[in-house]
């Protein structure tokens, strides 16, 4: 079986990996690259646990072929913190107790980051609709939504004080 050689950027660093033609990006990230922070809850695009960013687009990595990542810029939960500094979303999730089991957390963080990039000051309703593709069975979403809004406030306050 010939394997496909993929060259891309993952979490800001150049990366290359071999994958099978039919392998999903989710499986390649987990099994070939070792980024097991990307989770599989369904494999069919219905739970959002496998959310990653590819070239600035939020997508379910279980629905993308790994080979499609050639030349692209992929980011996962593992790339969110810079050095020992957590992303405000990560910090707010911790402080807001936005996770119980934590299996959905990587997907929510990536999806929420995508939301805040698009809409830095979302209303509660906007947060709820933007995250409707991510399932959480533990929290009832309350603390997740609050934490995303707290992160937005903290990012905006930081940006404000910077000027």
């Amino acid at each position: 079986m010939t394997r496909v050689h993929v060259t891309c950027t993952i979490n800001g660093d150049p990366a290359e990996f071999l994958c099978d033609g039919g392998q999903t990006l989710l499986d390649a990230l987990r099994d070939e690259v070792g980024l097991t922070g990307v989770k599989e809850g369904c494999g069919t695009g219905d739970c959002g646990a496998c959310s990653v960013m590819m070239d600035g687009r939020l997508l379910c990595s279980c629905l993308v072929l790994a080979a499609e990542a050639e030349g692209s810029d992929v980011s996962t939960v593992e790339g969110m913190a810079s050095g020992d500094e957590l992303h405000p979303l990560q910090q707010c999730f911790l402080e807001g107790a936005a996770l119980q089991c934590g299996i959905c957390t990587p997907g929510f963080l990536v999806a929420a980051e995508a939301l805040l990039e698009r809409n830095p000051d979302p209303t509660e309703t906007e947060v709820r609709y933007a995250l409707a593709g991510n399932l959480c069975r533990c929290t009832g979403y309350d603390k997740i939504v609050r934490s995303v809004m707290a992160a937005a406030r903290s990012i905006n306050a930081g940006a404000g004080s910077g000027h």
Binding site: R30, Q100, A132, C136, Y141
Partner: protein, 759 residues
């Protein structure tokens, strides 16, 4: 047994009741936390399961030769590779559910398993295992199971509890009866009698992480299993039972667990992976697909319920009668029994009778789901109470307050209840602004209550002090909702050190004493008590070490806020208080490492009551129900970590709302599940729900040193009737069949409209 130094209520505590950032949180927000499917071992094989396409069939033969010859295949197993098991065995059902022997009982039932170098090879080989079935007539519903000419699933199953004793096998596994007072006299006293029927569908726990494990058998036969489970000691003993191995041959390492809700209190994959690994001599990883999770793992039972209540015009409930039939899937279960124990438990009803049947059908074996059986009995009781309140012109809250059980009232099972917080929860809701907030057009408000017993069982803990004065707390309870944070807080309170200096960990089966499954809302209660006991033993040791260092008598040393303090009347020269860190640093010179254990069987689990208030808006054109506001008050005894208590309440509400409005297993006429994925089995998403206001009520449980009652389960009990009552308030329609989907709601509205027009 008495609990010493009971100190109810956390007001006076330094750490208990604070919102510590959970110690395992960082790994979870950075993607580093290791769940079972994240583990990969060198030389690892991948397993796949061959599953029955039939809901009910006899296995005529299994031919694995073609599969064995396929590329990459290292091992193929069937039921014949496991010791035979007798129907009288305590774990017979679990054993034959994990791998079928001569019959399959549901579509998706495991009949064989394969390990190969790659997952694709394993799946291809699984498809090449040739199983010849003789299809049998499938029994899919309660009515079919109880029909006179129904095919009997299990020829050994005689109805337990039948009077006179059952002589012939049937699909009724057991019958449970409770009664009290004089039912006939009770109903004769009633001014208003109402009888209603309810029906529900199976629903799944819906944890986002599919079942997964890795098993690795060494040359000596010793096997290590990493898995996602609510109870790794149970994984060990169950796997050992199935394989006929000793417990010492298996070590189970609990991975982080991606949700369980009761569904991971039993096991499915681990013995298969262990058997494949020991045959192949290589590690074997097995991960279920979402479809396998739906088809082959624990849905919650569904039920048909008939209840009859009699009330006096002053609102006193004087008589109640219930007939419950729970369908537990392919094997006997406890749905009906638990339903019988919960249906009338919240109210003081002088005359009552309950009869509950547990039946088997050809669907997946049911598993526990958060407060098993209680959401369904609450659906019946709480909606009928609402109807009684309406009929008698009494406020729904007042009716409940009038009849609510309190300390000393007899439970359904006869014993006087200990201190419970039901009235306090009702009052908390009544005084909440939500209770009197105005409603908009097409909106309605529903009130409902619920409770769960909670359980105790066995737990073990170890506290090790490190030489720098930090501590490691090891317990045997898998952390499914933030329990490590609670353990750190309780240990901090006892030892008098900062919780950030405590590392709480979940030990594997060789690292800590036996601990029962994390279920029955028991971790913070029972394992928390083991941690407290270990810490108190540690304090005794620390006082002894301090006595050595101070050259004093241990009886003259107290432990105060993390310090050994001399309180004797001798010369206090050289007897300044010693901090835990100082004592720990000198441990080598005072007797060696500082380690203490706590292990116990925890008596006195305290029930948790809860009261919910739900506002819905019903679209009269489509029947779509939106939840617009939700408030839930629950008695936590004492909230060790309020955020995770709130989280349990909010999570329970969301699951209950899903159960009420959307979730159901849909089978075709052959018993094949038609919606085994999250697209068609729709669980609530963020945009389906409002904020859920969780109000923590604290009526301490005297059997826990900090007053803890378990909180994990009760939250799922009231949402179904709260939503149903709210729909009635919005539309005037009572819906008694789940789910209350748009189609069903619209039908009810239309029918009511037709009745109104016709009348």
């Amino acid at each position: 047994m008495t609990i010493t130094e009971a100190n109810p209520g956390y007001k006076g505590y330094k750490y208990v009741g604070t919102r510590l950032i959970r110690p395992d949180g960082l790994e979870k927000v950075t993607g580093k936390a290791r769940f079972a499917a994240d583990l990969n071992l060198a030389g690892q094989l991948h397993g796949a399961v061959v599953r029955s396409p039939h809901a009910h069939a006899r296995i005529v033969s299994i031919d694995t030769s073609r599969a064995e010859a396929m590329p990459g295949v290292k091992s193929v197993i069937t039921g014949d590779d496991f010791p035979s098991v007798d129907p009288g065995h305590r774990q017979y059902d679990m054993c034959v559910n994990i791998i079928a022997r001569d019959k399959v009982f549901y579509e998706g039932h495991a009949v064989a398993a394969v390990a190969a170098s790659t997952l694709e090879q394993a799946r291809a080989a699984a498809a090449a295992v040739e199983v010849e079935y003789e299809a049998l007539q499938a029994v899919l519903t309660i009515d079919e199971a109880m029909a006179d000419d129904a095919p009997v699933l299990h020829s050994h199953m005689l109805t337990r509890g039948a009077e006179p004793p059952a002589e012939a096998p049937s699909n009724v596994a057991s019958v449970t009866r409770f009664s009290g007072g004089d039912l006939e006299a009770g109903f004769a006293e009633a001014d208003f009698v109402v009888e209603r029927e309810f029906s529900t569908k199976p629903v799944h726990q819906g944890y986002i992480e599919p079942h997964a494990c890795v098993a690795d058998t060494g040359q000596d036969g010793h096997t290590t299993i990493w898995c996602s489970s609510q109870g790794h000691f149970n994984v060990r003993s169950s796997t050992a039972t199935l394989l006929g191995w000793e417990n010492t041959r298996i070590k189970v390492v609990p991975a982080e667990i991606g949700g369980g809700f009761g569904g991971k209190t039993t096991i499915y994959l681990e013995p298969l992976a262990a058997a494949l690994s020991s045959q192949a001599g290589r590690p074997v990883k097995m991960v279920m697909t979402r479809s396998e999770v739906f088809r082959a793992t624990g849905p919650a039972p569904c039920a048909k319920i008939r209840v009859k209540f009699g009330a006096r015009s002053d609102g006193a409930i004087v008589a109640a009668d219930a007939h419950l039939i729970y369908s537990n899937g392919a094997y006997q279960g406890a749905g009906g029994m638990l339903g019988a124990m919960t249906v009338f438990e919240s109210y003081k009803i002088p005359n009552f009778a309950v009869e509950a049947l547990d039946v088997v059908v050809n669907t997946a074996r049911s598993a526990a789901y958060r407060a098993p059986a209680a959401p369904l009995t609450a659906f019946a009781t709480e909606t009928v109470l609402d109807e009684i309140a309406e009929e008698l012109g009494i406020d729904a809250m007042d009716l409940r307050l009038k009849n609510a059980v309190k300390e000393g009232d007899p439970s359904t099972m006869g014993f006087p209840l200990a201190r419970v917080g039901f009235a306090e929860c009702l009052e908390a809701i009544r005084s909440h602004p939500h209770f009197s907030a105005p409603l908009g057009p097409n909106q309605g408000r529903g009130l409902a209550a619920g409770y769960w017993f909670n359980i105790g069982e066995s737990s073990s803990a170890i506290v090790n002090l490190n030489e720098d004065g930090t501590a490691t707390v090891v317990t045997g309870s898998p952390d499914i909702g933030g329990s490590r944070a609670s353990m750190a807080l309780m240990a901090a309170e006892e030892l008098g050190i900062d919780p950030h200096d405590i590392r709480p960990v979940v030990g594997d089966t060789e690292a800590v004493g036996f601990t029962d499954i994390t279920e029955g809302s028991r971790a913070t209660f029972a394992t928390g008590r083991a941690v407290v006991e270990a810490c108190r033993n540690m304090v005794i040791e620390l006082r002894g070490r301090a006595a050595t260092m101070m050259e004093a008598e241990v009886g003259d040393i107290d432990w105060v806020d993390g310090h050994a303090v001399y309180t004797g009347d001798g010369d206090s020269e050289g007897k300044e208080p010693l901090s835990l860190a100082v004592i720990a640093g000198k441990a080598k010179r005072t007797g060696g490492p500082l380690t203490a254990t706590g292990s116990l069987e925890a008596h006195g689990a305290g029930p948790s009551f809860t009261v919910h208030l739900c506002d819905v808006e019903v679209d009269p054109e489509t029947g779509v129900v939106s939840i617009v506001r939700y408030t839930a008050a629950q008695d936590a005894g004492t909230a060790i970590h309020p955020s995770y208590v709130e989280g349990q309440i909010q999570g329970g509400v969301a699951q209950g709302v899903g159960w009420a409005l959307n979730e159901e297993y849909i089978y075709d006429s052959d018993g094949v599940m038609e919606n085994p994925g999250f697209l068609d089995y729709r669980v609530p998403v963020a945009s389906d729900l409002p904020m859920i206001d969780a109000v923590i009520v604290e009526v301490p449980n005297p059997a826990h040193p900090y007053g803890v009652r378990g909180v994990g389960e009760a939250g799922i009990v009231p949402p179904i009737p709260a939503v149903a009552n709210a729909i009635h308030s919005a539309t005037g329609c009572r819906i008694r069949d789940l789910p209350m989907s748009p189609v069903r709601v619209l039908e009810a509205i239309t029918a009511a409209g037709a009745r109104a027009n016709g009348g």
